[in-house]
């Protein structure tokens, strides 16, 4: 397959590369290496076995290559034979990739050495072959037989990228034209010094090889009846998929450092760490635990004594007791159109999934015209199709909307999943109040209108002052993924330096453009005046001074609900609402409030008794105790001891009979706290 990739970096390490030109801060070598290290880091992060690299230097002090017997190949060194990129080795190599003392060493000879390396590694197998050449291209270049070399390179499909650190506008050399001609003959690509920097800063995007997730028939009408149905052989590819951040593995930090912590010998790719190689490997032990409700204890069971099953409420149905295929459906794989509807029937907030692309079957030119015409008909009629999709026989069907789309000039369909009735959760919302009258409300509406109009991203004035283009998904990046990659890369090279801020490309859309906010400042000030922080501790409804605003804004449902949900105490404080009943949420307070009314005593006592029973049922024992104390004291003071004694005896009986499961030992508490029947000597002496 074409996704195996072999890249050789051919690096100019000549004496000139160590110098700074045209007032740059970096030497040419640093310029070049920024690009190279960035490119290598991506490969280190991805850790793919099918992505190999090699590093060759020329104009080096040493000469080390297979062709070194000929003088033409002197001052060329193979630093890193082709293999997967390994951090430890590359790190060791780093000091050696510095400017040499010489200007000897021929570029074309070095290309031949690199080509030879690639040729011997890739043989006749299918690889994507790339050769990056980083050079200032100063000094002499031997163009003898360059046509033959270029021909070979083109023939073997080696893609050359020439990264020229020298600025051609400021500095020209004799061989430049020949070099560029040579590059053209190889079908190579030139990166100027500026390009190199841009490339080095370009956010890395990992390309995933497209693999169809469905091959089958898109049909309309009964597929069993070829005369009465349409059928297009199609393939379905993922179009959007949320990119996952890098995967980490657990690591035993308490283990002694293993002999080779860099893992230089570890040839495994990252998802399969070679277990047993290091003492710091964490392994997961899985156990199965069963709870016995009768004895209220849990015990461990053996995996082999387990069967799979379903729970239906609390009933357990082991699946082996029935045929497993009883659950499966008699469905057949396929994509069937149910009908068409105007696209307004499918607003994007109904979409449930990542999107996919439906294209005609590969190498099926005949049906391409059909599918193209079909898609074109949908475009012209401005209709989307509703379809039923079964990806595999016996799987449940899903609902898709098929949306006509033109990708790279090819007619195709985008599909995305729609909700079933079961996928909709019925929340209820009151309708939004759309304001047209009221001075204050109009003021808000006008301010919001002005705010929105000042913040139009496509406004050229805002565009010009902004560093980045107008927001588009294609220009945004998966923040978490890139940040973690940045951290990994950073700590690999600089274990002790603090982590730098996220790269600018990650954060430039996370705030509104400054120019937009400046435009909107007046509107924002107005809105800021309207919005008031609600301080929960303070009384909610302020008297007098703020009255005008309160009356215009009126109390929203939400505020009413907030008040309803506030605690009874808070509410009472703020509103001085008369207490009419004993409340279970604050029995003692409400009880005392109630008995302030001389006629409320009898009711208050009865209600308190119910409240205490309720609190016991709920297991709110502290509150029940407090309530009982209040009730008892009141009964003593008000000479209602008979009432209390009758109640407490009844309650004690109920407690002993186990009526209140959440109030264990409460009867003992009654005794300990002396909350039993009121005796004679407790009564006030009259």
């Amino acid at each position: 397959m074409a996704d195996k990739k072999c890249t050789v970096y051919l690096l100019d390490l000549g004496n000139d590369m160590g110098k700074r030109y045209y007032g740059r801060n970096e030497t040419d070598l640093e310029y070049q290496m920024t690009f190279v290290w960035n490119s290598l880091s991506q490969r280190l992060l991805e850790n793919k076995k099918t992505d190999v690299i090699g590093i060759v230097g020329f104009k080096t002090d040493e000469s080390r290559n297979d062709l070194v017997e000929q003088e033409a190949y002197w001052n060329i060194a193979v630093f890193y034979p082709i293999q997967t990129a390994k951090f430890a080795q590359l790190q060791d190599l780093r000091p050696r990739l510095s400017a040499s003392k010489t200007m000897q060493g021929d570029l074309l000879s070095a290309i031949v050495v690199s080509f030879d390396l690639i040729g011997r590694y890739c043989k006749a197998n299918k690889w994507t072959k790339e050769l990056f050449i980083g050079t200032g291209a100063r000094g002499t270049i031997d163009f003898e037989d360059s046509d033959g070399i270029a021909e070979q390179i083109a023939q073997h499909d080696v893609h050359i990228t020439l990264g020229l650190t020298r600025d051609l506008k400021l500095e020209r050399h004799t061989y430049d034209n020949q070099l560029l001609q040579f590059l053209e003959k190889c079908n190579g690509k030139l990166l100027t010094a500026q390009n190199l920097m841009e490339e080095a800063q370009r956010p890395p995007i990992r390309k995933v090889k497209p693999v169809p997730i469905f091959r089958g028939i898109l049909s309309l009408g009964n597929p069993q009846d070829p005369d009465a149905s349409l059928a297009f052989p199609i393939e379905r590819y993922p179009y959007t998929r949320i990119a996952k951040p890098p995967v980490s593995t657990a690591f035993d930090a308490s283990a002694k450092p293993s002999a080779d912590p860099s893992g230089a010998d570890n040839d495994e790719v990252m998802s399969q760490p070679n277990l047993g190689m290091h003492s710091d490997v964490v392994s997961t032990i899985r156990t199965y635990v069963v709870h016995d409700p009768v004895k209220d204890e849990t015990f461990e069971v053996d995996r082999k004594d387990l069967e799979s099953g379903y729970s239906y409420g609390r009933t357990i149905i082991p699946i082996s007791s029935t045929d497993e295929d009883i659950m499966s459906l008699d469905t057949q794989a396929g994509l069937e159109v149910l009908g068409f509807a105007p696209k307004s029937c499918f607003p994007p907030f109904y979409f449930m999934s990542e999107t996919n692309l439906i294209v005609n079957k590969k190498d099926d030119e005949q049906t391409a015209t059909q599918l193209t015409s079909f898609v074109e008909a949908m475009i012209q009629e401005d209709r989307y199709a509703l379809a039923r999709f079964v990806n595999k026989n016996h799987n449940g069907p899903i609902l898709l909307v098929l949306i006509p789309h033109i990708e790279n000039g090819t007619h195709c369909l985008i599909d995305v999943q729609l909700p079933y009735a079961e996928d909709v959760r019925a929340f209820s919302f009151p309708s939004l109040e759309h304001v047209t009258t009221g001075e204050e409300k109009m003021r808000v509406q006008n301010a919001v209108d002005a705010y929105v109009s000042s913040m139009l991203l496509d406004n050229p004035a805002i565009q010009q002052s902004s560093k980045a283009p107008v927001f588009e998904p294609q220009f945004s990046y998966s923040v978490m993924r890139h940040r973690i990659q940045q951290a990994i890369q950073h700590y690999a090279f600089h274990p002790n330096a603090p982590l730098p801020e996220p790269s600018p490309y990650l954060v430039h859309y996370t705030h509104a453009p400054e120019a937009a906010l400046r435009n909107a400042q007046d509107a924002l000030n107005t809105l800021q005046g309207v919005l008031e922080p609600i301080v929960h501790e303070a009384p909610k409804v302020e008297p007098a001074e703020k009255e005008s605003q309160v009356s215009v804004l009126s109390i929203s449902d939400a505020e009413i609900e907030a008040m309803l949900n506030s605690t009874a105490e808070e509410q009472l404080e703020t509103e001085k609402e008369p207490v009419l009943h004993v409340s279970a949420s604050d029995p003692v307070y409400t009880f005392y409030e109630l008995i302030k009314n001389p006629f409320g005593l009898d009711d208050a006592i009865t209600e308190m008794e119910s409240a205490i029973r309720l609190l016991l049922t709920e297991g709110k024992l502290d509150s029940a105790k407090e309530s009982l104390i209040a009730l008892r004291e009141t009964c003593i003071r008000e000479d209602e001891s008979e009432q209390y004694n009758g109640f407490i005896v009844e309650l004690q009986n109920e407690l002993i009979s186990g009526k209140y499961q959440n109030a264990m030992n409460f009867e003992q508490l009654i005794l300990q706290q002396h909350l039993g029947s009121i005796s004679f000597d407790e009564l006030p002496m009259s």
Binding site: P246, A250, D292, G313, C345, T355, P419, V435, V452, I534
Partner: protein, 617 residues
């Protein structure tokens, strides 16, 4: 796993929506409740019981942790200490026994009618509500709902009774019990809310603007079920965050995951060696590979591979790296609505509404923003962090239209939907395809077809998930020991007959034109290959055994397994084995016993033995 919280913004909040509820049906028993509505329609009491059963059966699937109970009041007989109160189902989680019990009351009403005789005393609502509150409060920290079903619009017969009831109303509110009444017409007159309940509900109920009243008649059951479903709608938000118009101007908003893919429950591990089946809960412990010692949480760090090197982070360091600020929806700017393209989707949308929690006036600004975006056909672009630790993303903020058209059960709520936008990392490349030009003959044919089978509309809820329905139908049958039902009608299949009727001629025309085109474009050899390729999938389909299996499945529960001639004829047509699969083991043993076939062994062995028997019958 480390990646877990980068997944769905919905999954993390599942518990919020799935808050457990205790649901208690309190149903009045009286002569009028017992009077059949017509010869075919059951009385109101039975209808209410059927309604309770159906809700319970549905609960066990959707929210199996909810508690459910049924209390009747006004009966002559009493089950507990309270007079004239009959508890059919104490509060508990549903299981198959409890469901069967309730179903017995609902479906075999005539056989239980006797024990549910109305009492000669007037039914006391205040006592019933007191008992109900006791039943409901046995469990803490869950939502409590009380469905009161009655046709008596004057439950207070004197002033003291009225006072008692008004106090109950206050108690219910204090105890945070959500009172949901469903009022039925009595045989004599329609229910009058003003007689008593308006005042009562103004104290007891928070949403007294909607009081479901169910008319007497054929649709009573459906209307009642509808009312119960509507009353169950949660009002609670799943996310709370601020919408930032700028650094200083913020409003409070709440997020609701209205759309979420519902899939059949996963299988669990069942321990079958004990006295009863029990769920085995998997637990994982992380140990050192070398020493097998159990590791403490802070001993485990996370390692990323970087070209063979482990780059190690502690959990703290990782949390810091992953932190991009607290929950927020920050507005970046606005763009024309047309800049949103249909492919820019990755997950279900999130609905937001303003709710002033600590910033007053949030609703007002929110409404104004909604009006503005709708009027100018704009969308907002936002930087969104749903909650602490959530993966940040960019969202399109889209206002819902003000149309209040009610499409069956689905009412499009008014507010904004947040649609997560894909990033450059999330957009895949697609292999190029050869470009083709549309053909004019085909195009005009397709346009006729596209116009010809126009659907009236699409709205969420129009189609049912048959895979889910089937899964639970089977599960319910197995749990309640009922015969496994015949194949569910696949409502998601296209209406083939209608398609043929409406656009049949155009399909023929298009197919004809397509054949001509491909013939003109290909050599004879390629053409034969093409026809083979095109017809192949169809042949596979028509010859596949699936449709046949479908027929068998429809029959299997219908045949009378006690009739040997039926079994014999099934055996003759080679369909016996398949038919028997649909039976329970008990039934198979019955057949086996009848013919002296050994009844031990697995189901498959039993079927085999019975088949053998009938082949040589």
């Amino acid at each position: 796993m480390m990646a877990s919280n980068s997944e769905n913004w919905v999954d993390e909040s599942e518990n919020e929506y799935g808050k457990t509820y205790a649901i208690l049906f309190v149903i009045e028993v009286s002569p009028s409740m017992m009077e059949p509505i017509s010869d075919v329609d059951p009385c109101s009491l039975q209808t209410a019981l059927i309604c309770a059963y159906q809700l319970a059966a549905q609960k066990v699937i959707s929210t199996p942790n909810d508690l459910i109970g049924v209390l009747l009041f006004g009966t002559e007989e009493a089950t507990g200490n309270a007079e004239n109160e009959y508890v059919i189902l104490p509060m508990d989680m549903p299981d198959s026994n409890r469901l069967k019990h309730l179903k017995h009351y609902a479906n075999d009403f005539d056989s239980v009618k006797q024990s549910l005789r109305p009492s000669s005393n007037p039914p006391s609502l205040s006592h019933a509500l007191y008992s109900a509150s006791i039943m409901l409060t046995t469990t803490k920290n869950i939502g409590q709902r009380l469905f009161l079903i009655t046709d008596n619009d004057t439950p207070a017969w004197d002033s003291s009774q009225k006072n008692a009831l008004m106090q109950r109303a206050k108690d219910l509110k204090d105890m945070n019990i959500d009172l949901c009444p469903i009022f039925l017409d009595s045989p004599a007159h329609s229910f009058n809310v003003s007689n008593f309940y308006r005042e009562f509900l103004s104290i007891a109920s928070r949403n007294h603007e909607t009081i479901p009243q169910v008319q007497r008649g054929q649709e009573q059951l459906n209307n009642m079920l509808h009312a119960v479903r509507a009353l169950q709608k949660p009002r609670r938000a799943q996310f709370h965050f601020n919408m930032e118009l700028s650094d200083n101007v913020k409003i409070n908003v709440e997020g609701f995951a209205i759309f979420r893919r519902l899939v059949p429950t996963k299988t669990t591990w069942v321990y079958t060696k004990g006295e009863q089946f029990a769920i085995a809960v998997p637990q994982s412990t992380q140990v050192s590979f070398e020493t097998k010692r159990v590791l403490k949480k802070d001993e485990i760090k996370r390692a990323y591979m970087f070209g063979g090197k482990q780059v190690v982070f502690s959990q703290d360091e990782l949390s810091k790296i992953r932190y991009f600020g607290g929950p927020v929806l920050r507005i970046i700017g606005f763009r024309p609505l047309t800049t949103y393209k249909s492919w820019m989707n990755v997950k279900p949308s999130l609905f937001i509404r303003a709710k002033s929690i600590d910033i007053k006036g949030s609703e007002l600004v929110f409404s104004a923003l909604h009006a503005k975006l709708l009027r100018d056909n704009l969308l907002g672009i936002g930087w969104f962090i749903a909650e602490q630790k959530a993966t940040p993303c960019f969202v399109a903020i889209i206002a819902t239209p003000t149309s209040t058209a009610v499409l069956d059960d689905f009412v499009l709520p008014q507010g904004f939907f947040l649609i997560q936008l894909p990033t450059a990392d999330d957009i895949r490349t697609v292999p190029p395809r050869t470009k083709a030009k549309p053909d004019n003959t085909l195009l005009s044919g397709f346009k006729q077809i596209v116009r010809g089978i126009e659907l009236r509309s699409f709205y969420p809820g129009k189609y049912s998930n048959i895979a889910l329905q089937w899964h639970y139908t089977i599960l319910q049958a197995l749990a309640l020991d009922e015969p496994v039902p015949s194949q569910l009608v696949d409502t998601t299949l296209p209406k083939y007959a209608a398609i043929e009727k409406r656009v049949g001629p155009f399909i023929k025309q298009v197919n004809g034109a397509a054949n001509r085109i491909s013939r003109a474009h290909t050599s004879p050899k390629a053409e034969t290959q093409e026809t083979v390729a095109a017809s192949e999938p169809r042949e596979i389909r028509s010859s596949s055994s699936a449709p046949k299996a479908k027929r068998i499945r429809t029959q299997k529960s219908n045949f009378d397994y006690s009739d040997d001639t039926v079994l014999k004829s099934l055996s003759d047509s080679d369909m016996l084995a398949d038919s028997l699969k649909g039976l329970k083991v008990v039934n198979l043993k019955e057949i086996a016993k009848r013919h002296g076939i050994p009844t031990s062994g697995k189901k498959s062995m039993l079927i085999e033995a019975i088949c053998r028997y009938f082949t040589g019958y």
